[in-house]
Symmetry: D2
Subunit: 185 residues, 4 copies
Amino acid sequence: MKMLSKSLSAFALAGVITSASAATVVNQSISEAEVIGAQKAWCQALIDISSTYAKDGQPAAKALAEKVIDSAYGYQMGAVLFKPTLTVAPQTFRTTREGALAYFVGGNSDYPQDKGFALKGWTKCEPQNAGVFIAGDSATSMGNVMMTNKDGQVTTVDKTWTYVKDDAGNLRIVVHHSSLPYTGK
Amino acid sequence: MKMLSKSLSAFALAGVITSASAATVVNQSISEAEVIGAQKAWCQALIDISSTYAKDGQPAAKALAEKVIDSAYGYQMGAVLFKPTLTVAPQTFRTTREGALAYFVGGNSDYPQDKGFALKGWTKCEPQNAGVFIAGDSATSMGNVMMTNKDGQVTTVDKTWTYVKDDAGNLRIVVHHSSLPYTGK
Amino acid sequence: MKMLSKSLSAFALAGVITSASAATVVNQSISEAEVIGAQKAWCQALIDISSTYAKDGQPAAKALAEKVIDSAYGYQMGAVLFKPTLTVAPQTFRTTREGALAYFVGGNSDYPQDKGFALKGWTKCEPQNAGVFIAGDSATSMGNVMMTNKDGQVTTVDKTWTYVKDDAGNLRIVVHHSSLPYTGK
Amino acid sequence: MKMLSKSLSAFALAGVITSASAATVVNQSISEAEVIGAQKAWCQALIDISSTYAKDGQPAAKALAEKVIDSAYGYQMGAVLFKPTLTVAPQTFRTTREGALAYFVGGNSDYPQDKGFALKGWTKCEPQNAGVFIAGDSATSMGNVMMTNKDGQVTTVDKTWTYVKDDAGNLRIVVHHSSLPYTGK
């Protein structure tokens, strides 16, 4: 988990710079580059969970998914506003870590509809932002994410992610709304 | 410009209090009550545009929709991340005021798919939050909104709204992701 | 007053960019460069009030000081936490616009100790930051400001300024603590 | 690392509530009560360091001061903008943890002027706010702090503190400007 392995000197390297005027500058703002980086990390994690599942089975995929959730989402802040792509009422919204984990890797009898979204053999995942709104200490991206499975089929979703920074300077997802495109009928 | 029309005393009434210790307190945080209020205002605006359309026609509804967009959304900040319920590619995302207006009241040949979502005879609109995440200077709600039309049919959507406060202390929507529930097939 | 003359297109030019990926980006974070710019503007305003006083008298200096306060400070948000360099109890803290104006240009019998700090013939003003802390939507600078009067005498103060951004994208001072250096005895 | 020692249930008790509508609410805003609490904690820590010094000597006082700095200040974010009451150039500003520690308990040959402010036999410490400005995710207080030593002598300082919340929900001082009142001559 990235946050835990960061030393104080890593802090200094990552977020504190000395400006031309020799003033120490601490900048906790979120940049567009950090948003792009967090999106790529999310996509890579999806692919990694899929390949871990294929090679090592569901328990290994679940263990990885837990690591991903604990490092990339903000459940330890109390809750995440998460509306996954394929959930149905009355379990549409996954504000708890357990609900997120069930969605990604299934295998939880409390969430009987969950087949494990991250187990679907994803081999490619590509975000394409329509817009990014940086409010200073939070940042939201909206756009499409195109995910390709091992058969080459592409699933496109409409995706909104809101990030805040944790104490270690890492972005964490606190809002995640994903939906299939409206088909016009 | 709204900020200018508000007097300092209105400011004082709204956002500045004197604490027990006689210190002047300015509090720009967003409260859950303000989020609930903004949601109710959005719902009421939807109903009002529908009834204005029924009584006075599209131009009157459009004029009202413009007022609503200009007071309840944050397009003057540069863009809003808006994914309406019923839009289709390549016009899924409506980051401009013009795109939002076309979605709500139609009548814009640049957006030929738009029939005018707010013109559909809505008579009731009810938000039901799954969660609210207040990051301090922004706040996001996620949950369902149930909208009833004049025939009594209810449309339920999954809805995410993120708000920031403007200089006058009013919440403005800067992120709006709405989608039809996944049907499970 | 800068805020009033900004058109919506100015908004677009100032704060909204299109990234490499063609996503619209709204960035409301405060940058170090904006902090430096606001400090220089404060210094220039001090010099301008002094020279206006010398040329055109106190009423003209007062009119200019009002413009400066209304554009560079955040009194319209309800209050500013202002501890000027030379105020004494029980009027040490100037949380109101009136108190700030009295400090800068004097001439207010409710503030009998105020001689008008900005009228002291300042010809040069130079900030030197020890540090800048950007929390995202607020930013604070701390350091020295060296002010030179027409006789070449330099006054150095320890200075803290906290800024927030208004709707027009301009920084406004909401905290200002200024003090003479401790002399060690 | 504080964040790790807090359990999720502690999080839940502190910052997450269930609203009337059964929505989960995460609120990361800073309240005035939290600011008052942090001020009282700072005052108590000052008294505790003084009494520890009297009873157990400088090394014990230093150990306590380190604990206080590490829990109440934000040095681990990269820097704190700290202008203590009694420092002199060129060591006026203490943006590093080491500089803060030297100021509070002395005994550091790199800071030869530092006698140890927290060792001065403080028995009482009382904040009196002129104003509090809550920007959402940061909050600043400005006012006086009256400190009484064991001989009953009272020292009054003009004090500005800015706080942000860490991942565990605790306020941390990121700006601290303290100065002796201007004496009018």
